[in-house]
C-alpha cells in the first residue's frame, strides 16, 4: 500500500478560513445547534480574539461537550487526585489524565486498565453500540503502549420481562462477544443486572486490561519539532456527526451531502490488525507519542497531542483518507469513525513506520508535523482554517460547579425500612419455617439478578491467549502476566445501585468494598481502581447531589483502603424524561498476584471434600436494599453498614490464607447474602455442603432468615483443609477477626443442607438457577 496523501474527493466547499473569519465578524454561527451555551461561545470568541471559523467551532463544540470536557464533573473528580497518600502513589506510573492509568507490577512489568461507558449508542443499536464500546476502550489501552489482555462488561438492562429488554440484551451481548472474541481478548467477567430503572437507559460499560514492559510506555503527546504526524487505521467517514450537516456555513458547491450514519459499525478485524501493528511499532520504538481516536476524533487527537507536547502542531486536513468524500472540514474534525490511531514519528523512522503499515496492510496518511509555535494550525489545501492554542481546546474548557441538594424524597426513602414495611404489612410475612426458607432460596437463586449468567458468558471466549486463570463465574477475572514467574492480575467490577440510591456516599463506598473484596477473595492484593460514573442529568440538582456524594464517598474510601483511582469515565444524562437511573458508580478494582496459581476458586471442588466451612465476619439485620427486598418489590431504608477497616482486614486475611495455602475455596458475600454465596459455592463444581446456622444466630443475635438473606458487608465463606484449621484459627484470632465454623464440604451428599432447616439437592437448585435467562432470551 502506498502513502495516499492526495485527496480522492472532488467536492469543493466554501472554506471558512481564519482570514475570512477575521474579516466577517458578524457571520451567524450555529453554536447552539452544536450544543454550546451562549457563554461558552462568547468565551471562544474571547480566546480567539475573533469569531471562530466553522472548523474551529466544530472542534470547540465537540471538545467542550460534557462527554469530552467533564465540565460538570471536573470540580468533583479532583478529589481522586487530592485524596491520596504517598503510599498510594508508590506504584502509580501514570495517573488520571492520560488515556488510561498505568500501575507498576515490578520486574519491569506494568498494567493498564480502564472502564468506560457506551450507554446510549447501545440502546439505539445494541449490537453495534456495545461492539464499538469494546473497540473504544481497547484503543485506550493500546495507546498506552500495552498489549490488551482481557475485557470485562458490566451490564445493566431493564426488567427481564419487558418486551424491549430482549432486544437490547441479545444485541449488546452479541456485540460485545463479536468484537471481543474477534480481537482475541478473553472476557474475564462483568456484571448482569436487570432493573426497570434502566429500561430506557441500559448501561453498557466496558473495561479493558493491558500489560506492557516499562520501556514500551507511550503517552499522548506530540514532541520534537519536525516530527511527523500520521493518522492510520480505518478511513474517516461521517460516523458520529449526527443526522444533518450541522455546519450551515460550510455549504457545498456542487454535490448534495450524503447522509451521515445514524450509528457506527465496528470493524473488529481492522482493530485486531491495529493492535498487532501498534505493538510492532512499540517494539521497534517507531512512535514518539500516540493517541487513539474516540470521541471527537481528530479534534481530540490533534489538540490533546499538541497540548500535551511542548510545541505545536500543523496539520493538512485534505490529507485525511476518507470513506465519504463529501465530508466537510468541520465534519472530518468531528468524525468519530472507529479503528483509527494518530501517532508522532521522527523523520528518521518514517520509512520503518511505513514498512510496518505495509506488513499489516494498514492504510495511513501523513497529516503534518510538530512545530515550535505552541499553536495547533490546521490547513485545507494550504489555507488556514484552524489556528488555536491547543490547550484552550483540550484542557481549558468550561468548568461548572453545578448546584446540588439532597433530594426532597430522600428522607421518606430512608425512613421506609424493610422491617417497617414488613411490620406494616406492605411486604408479606417473611419466611420462617425450613420449607419456607428453602423455597425462598430457590426463588432468590432463580431471580434475574442471581440466576446463572452462562447464557451470556458462553458467548464470550475466555480461553484465548492462554493466560486466563479465572473468569466468570468466579469472584474476579484473573490473567497471568509473566509466564516465567506466574505473576498476574485480578480484576472485578461492582456496583449495587440500590444501595447507591438509598445513600450515594455509602453506596459508592460499598461498590469499592465489594470489588476490593472480590479481588482479595480471589487471593490478589488490590492495587488500583478505575470507575465509570453512570448518572442522570447534572442539571438536576438532586442528581448532582447523588453525583457529588458518590464521588466524595468513593474518594474517601479509596484513601482509606489505600488504592488510587487511576482513571475512569463519566456518563451523565442517563435518564428517561425526568426520571434518572439510580446512581451507578461502577467500580473496578485491580489486584496483583505473585503467582496466579495461588488463586482461590469460588466453589467447593471434589478435592475439598470434608474440609471445614467457615463464615468470616459478622451478620447484622441488614435487609434494606437487599436482593430479598427486591424480590418483595421493596426499596427503602439505609444500605448495609460500611466498615472499611474491617473490609481491609478481611482482604488481608483472605490474601494471606491463599498465599499460605490455608484455604481451598473462598467466596465473598454480597447480593443475596449467605444464601446466595453458599448456593453459588455448591453450584460451582456440583459439590455439596452441610452447614448449621446456630453459631452465627447465637453469636450475632439474628434469626435463620436474617442469617441467610442479610447483606452485611465484610464477609466471606472459606473452605479450610483439616490440616490448616489451627493455623487459620490462629491467624484470625490474632487479628481479632470473627469467624464461625459453620459446616463441612460434603461431596457425597449432592446437596446444600442447612441443618434443622432444609436440604436442597444441587440438581434441583441448578435447574431453577439455570432456567431463568434461557426462559427469557432463548
Amino acid at each position: 500500500m502506498t502513502d495516499q496523501t492526495s485527496r480522492q474527493a472532488t467536492a469543493t466547499f466554501n472554506i471558512d478560513t481564519v482570514e475570512h473569519a477575521a474579516q466577517t465578524p458578524d457571520t451567524e454561527l450555529p453554536w447552539a445547534e452544536l450544543g454550546l451555551k451562549q457563554n461558552e461561545f462568547e468565551e471562544i470568541v474571547r480566546i480567539l480574539g475573533r469569531r471562530p471559523t466553522a472548523a474551529e467551532l466544530a472542534m470547540y463544540s465537540v471538545m467542550w461537550s460534557e462527554h469530552c470536557s467533564y465540565k460538570s464533573s471536573k470540580v468533583h473528580l479532583r478529589q481522586f487526585g487530592e485524596k491520596v497518600t504517598e503510599e498510594m502513589k508508590k506504584d502509580l506510573m501514570v495517573g488520571i489524565g492520560e488515556n488510561a492509568g498505568v500501575t507498576d507490577l515490578g520486574d519491569g512489568w506494568a498494567v493498564t486498565f480502564k472502564i468506560e461507558s457506551h450507554n446510549s449508542p447501545s440502546y439505539v443499536e445494541p449490537f453495534q453500540g456495545a461492539a464499538t464500546g469494546i473497540g473504544g476502550i481497547v484503543r485506550d489501552i493500546i495507546s498506552m503502549g500495552a498489549r490488551p489482555v482481557a475485557v470485562m462488561d458490566p451490564l445493566r438492562f431493564g426488567a427481564i420481562d419487558h418486551p424491549d429488554t430482549a432486544r437490547v440484551m441479545h444485541g449488546a451481548v452479541a456485540g460485545i462477544g463479536s468484537y471481543g472474541n474477534s480481537l482475541g481478548l478473553p472476557n474475564i467477567g462483568g456484571e448482569m443486572v436487570f432493573d426497570p430503572i434502566y429500561q430506557g437507559n441500559p448501561l453498557v460499560n466496558a473495561l479493558a486490561v493491558g500489560v506492557l514492559r516499562h520501556e514500551d510506555l507511550r503517552l499522548a503527546n506530540a514532541s520534537g519539532v519536525g516530527n511527523k504526524v500520521v493518522l492510520f487505521g480505518a478511513r474517516t467517514g461521517g460516523d458520529g456527526i449526527g443526522g444533518a450537516s450541522v455546519l450551515a456555513s460550510e455549504s457545498f458547491d456542487d454535490a448534495k451531502p450524503s447522509k451521515r450514519p445514524a450509528v457506527q459499525v465496528g470493524d473488529p478485524f481492522a482493530e485486531k490488525v491495529l493492535i498487532e501493528c501498534c505493538l510492532e511499532l512499540f517494539k521497534d520504538s517507531l512512535v514518539e507519542g500516540i493517541q487513539d481516536l474516540g470521541a471527537a476524533g481528530i479534534s481530540c487527537a490533534t489538540s490533546e497531542l499538541a497540548s500535551n507536547g511542548e510545541g505545536g502542531m500543523n496539520v493538512e486536513l485534505t490529507s485525511v483518507l476518507l470513506r465519504d468524500p463529501t465530508l466537510t472540514p468541520g465534519e472530518i474534525l468531528m468524525s468519530e469513525s472507529q479503528e483509527r490511531m494518530m501517532a508522532v514519528v521522527t523523520p528518521g523512522n518514517v520509512e520503518a513506520f511505513e514498512a510496518v503499515m505495509a506488513k499489516w496492510d494498514v492504510e495511513y496518511s501523513w497529516l503534518g508535523e510538530v512545530t515550535d509555535d505552541n499553536r495547533l494550525t490546521i490547513t485545507w489545501n494550504g489555507e488556514v482554517i484552524v489556528d488555536v492554542d491547543p490547550r484552550t481546546v483540550a484542557h481549558d474548557g468550561p468548568v461548572y460547579d453545578r448546584p446540588y441538594h439532597r433530594p426532597s424524597y430522600q428522607d421518606a426513602l430512608v425512613a421506609d425500612t424493610f422491617r417497617s414495611a414488613v411490620d406494616a404489612g406492605r411486604v408479606p410475612a417473611l419466611p420462617g419455617t425450613g420449607d419456607e426458607l428453602r423455597a425462598a432460596v430457590l426463588e432468590l437463586m432463580s431471580s434475574p439478578n442471581l440466576a446463572d449468567v452462562s447464557w451470556v458468558t458462553r458467548q464470550y471466549d475466555h480461553f484465548v491467549q492462554g493466560n486466563t486463570a479465572m473468569a466468570a463465574p468466579d469472584d474476579a477475572g484473573v490473567v497471568r502476566v509473566d509466564e516465567e514467574t506466574g505473576m498476574g492480575v485480578a480484576v472485578s467490577t461492582d456496583c449495587n445501585s440500590r444501595y447507591t440510591y438509598l445513600d450515594p456516599y455509602a453506596g459508592a463506598q460499598l461498590a469499592l468494598a465489594e470489588s476490593y473484596r472480590n479481588v482479595a477473595t480471589a487471593g490478589a492484593v488490590p492495587k488500583a481502581v478505575s470507575d465509570c460514573l453512570n448518572f442522570g442529568s447534572p442539571e438536576d440538582p438532586e442528581v448532582m447531589w447523588q453525583f457529588a456524594e458518590a464521588i466524595r464517598g468513593l474518594a474517601d474510601a479509596c484513601q482509606q483502603m489505600g488504592v488510587p483511582v487511576t482513571g475512569g469515565n463519566v456518563s451523565l444524562y442517563n435518564q428517561t424524561g425526568s426520571t434518572p437511573i439510580h446512581p451507578t458508580p461502577v467500580v473496578a478494582t485491580l489486584g496483583q498476584f505473585d503467582d496466579v496459581s495461588r488463586r482461590t476458586p469460588s466453589g467447593f471442588h471434589r478435592d475439598a471434600d470434608g474440609q471445614a466451612v467457615y463464615l468470616m465476619g459478622v451478620t447484622r439485620d441488614e435487609l434494606d436494599g437487599s436482593e430479598f427486598a427486591r424480590l418483595r418489590d421493596h426499596l427503602g431504608g439505609v444500605p448495609p453498614q460500611v466498615d472499611l477497616a474491617t473490609e481491609k482486614l478481611l482482604g488481608e486475611l483472605l490474601i494471606n490464607a491463599s498465599r499460605d495455602g490455608m484455604i481451598d475455596a473462598a467466596h465473598d458475600l454480597s447480593e443475596g447474602g449467605l444464601a446466595a454465596a453458599l448456593s453459588e459455592m455448591v453450584l460451582r463444581f456440583g459439590v455439596g455442603a452441610r452447614v448449621s446456622l446456630d453459631e452465627v444466630m447465637q453469636r450475632d443475635g439474628v434469626d435463620a432468615f436474617t442469617a441467610l438473606f442479610s447483606e452485611s458487608q465484610s464477609r466471606a465463606i472459606v473452605a479450610v483443609p483439616r490440616t490448616e484449621e489451627v493455623r487459620f484459627k490462629d491467624m484470625t484470632t490474632a487479628r481479632g477477626f470473627p469467624v464461625a465454623r459453620i459446616g463441612v464440604v460434603d461431596a457425597a451428599s449432592g446437596a446444600l443442607e442447612v441443618q434443622d432447616q432444609f436440604v436442597l439437592p444441587i440438581e434441583e437448585l441448578r435447574e431453577r438457577w439455570a432456567a431463568t435467562l434461557p426462559e427469557y432470551f432463548g
Binding site: 443499536e125 453495534q128 467517514g237 451521515r260 450514519p261 457506527q264 459499525v265 470493524d267 481492522a270
Partner: protein, 94 residues
C-alpha cells in the same frame, strides 16, 4: 412453490467491514477493476400458495421489520422470483 426474493444492503453511509475485506482480497487474487464491494443479504421466502398482492405486501412488511435492521440497512428489492430461476428451499420449516 413460488418464491419471493428480498434483498437487503447496508446503508451506503454505513461502514461495511465485510465488503471492505472482500474488496481488499480481490486484487490479491488477480481480480482488478472493482472499486468497491458491499455485502448484503438475500432472502428467499417460499410462499405457501399463490403470491397475491397481500402476500407480497406481507413480505415487504417482514422485510422492513424482521429481515432488515432499519438503522443500518436498506431493503433494496422485494420481488417474485421467476419460476425457472427458482432455487427452492429444502423443505417446509416449522
Amino acid at each position: 412453490m413460488p418464491t419471493i426474493v428480498v434483498d437487503v444492503m447496508p446503508k451506503p453511509e454505513i461502514l461495511d467491514p465485510q465488503g471492505k475485506a472482500i474488496a481488499g482480497a480481490l486484487p490479491r487474487l488477480g481480480f482488478t477493476g472493482f472499486a468497491a464491494v458491499r455485502q448484503g443479504k438475500r432472502f428467499e421466502l417460499t410462499v405457501d400458495g399463490e403470491v397475491t398482492d397481500e402476500v407480497l405486501a406481507h413480505a415487504r412488511e417482514a422485510a422492513e421489520q424482521l429481515l432488515s435492521n432499519p438503522v443500518i440497512e436498506d431493503v433494496v428489492n422485494v420481488e417474485v422470483l421467476p419460476d425457472a430461476a427458482g432455487h427452492p428451499a429444502e423443505g417446509p420449516t416449522a
